[in-house]
Subunit: 277 residues, 2 copies
Amino acid sequence: MHNEKVIAAFQGERGAYSEAATVTYFGEGVQPLPRASFEAVFDAVSSSDADRGVIPVENSLAGSIHRNYDLLLRYDLTIVGEVQLRIAHHLIALPGVSLADVRRVYSHPQALAQCEQSLDKLLPHVERVPTYDTAGSVNMLREEGIRDGAAIASRRAADFYEMSVLRDDLEDDPENYTRFLILSRDAVIPDGAAKTSIVFAMDNVPGALFKSLAVFALRDIDLTKIESRPLQGKRWQYFFYIDFAGSVHETHCRNALNHLQEITSFFRILGSYPRGV
Amino acid sequence: MHNEKVIAAFQGERGAYSEAATVTYFGEGVQPLPRASFEAVFDAVSSSDADRGVIPVENSLAGSIHRNYDLLLRYDLTIVGEVQLRIAHHLIALPGVSLADVRRVYSHPQALAQCEQSLDKLLPHVERVPTYDTAGSVNMLREEGIRDGAAIASRRAADFYEMSVLRDDLEDDPENYTRFLILSRDAVIPDGAAKTSIVFAMDNVPGALFKSLAVFALRDIDLTKIESRPLQGKRWQYFFYIDFAGSVHETHCRNALNHLQEITSFFRILGSYPRGV
């Protein structure tokens, strides 16, 4: 279904979790385009260097990636899909290295934190070294030939850099999922169960947020997420980002959005897209 | 009014913006207690090493400091006050150093970003060096006797470390405010205009958030802030943090909270406190 041959930009090095999400969504036929920053992913799609962008927006343990909410507002791209990836952290080393050889474990601080208890049991006296990213740590072990260290990263990173997996599933909490959005220059018309993302602002009057949610509740439209971000230049006022079940091509959703526009000072549809599983 | 003699813990080094907020709230009679992390501030109050803690929760440009929302839930402290601080960034150097001597500007990445345009005009070819914190950069210039560098930090940092201010108010956007909460072990009964902070969770049913906001809207209670954080172990479910105008000692607010408890699966009052100006 998602097997169209596309160039998809993601943030990070080859083997990053964002690349794993890209392949999960588009299939192995995709051409992943690594970029150094989230902004560079948005730029790649805007400039047509990439057909699609894949950005993380939310982790089930750590919360929203607020930077990407700000970028969704700043760029004129549209959301055309979403995909959830289970974040499974593996302990990865050069081929031939055994657990007893490991003196240092390298990874992004969040990955190290998410494996803290497992590492305490498995490698109690080993130094933890925070690095810029997970897949980059695997690449570093390989490039520098480090045989007394291991990295925490995705299975994809182990495969890509031809490294060994010393231990599977090191994450303390298996309910560790990241939700990614697929960005495009052009909107899609979703088939089947859809989701819509919008962003709006309201004049700062009592009950404003309540009224904005009423347009959905009065039509039995289910909200799946609400996020607020500061409205630059207006102190303690906010942009609200809302995801709801349904598409702008369904009448009751279109009515709700028309109703919402009557009471908002700013309003934008970020996209209607097939609901991920 | 806030001149009680107290020991108040804050995160950062002496001269940090959090220390400036502490002195703004309590007056110069306060004894500021610097701590390395937000967690250590919560620990200091919990263990009675400090009478109060002062934590930033929101910046008008950068948004919420989500880590502190998570810690409010994890610790059993209560909010007893709030204070807003205008963030004025100054260019600070050793006495005798002039603008023409400066080859490098040191500060926290967020402070560097908030002064980007001013720096481009004032010091176009000068290197920006990201550091751990603003006041710490001023201290570093002094300790290491760096005479070809300057730091961006608060006026308080310049005064504390006996350094010179080369330029005032370097921030690009003057609408730069941070809101801090005052933490204590014991609740207060606020006089005059009050605010209350709560946190709750609900079963994931359509319209749940709408119903929770209805308990306030139906009683004309003004919400000033809503924030969501992931509910650990329940994928894509959330804790909601709400601030509203009024105190738990006012009948209509108490009724609203009783009503809210009928429909929530988790509920906690984080504190009622005098509204900051």
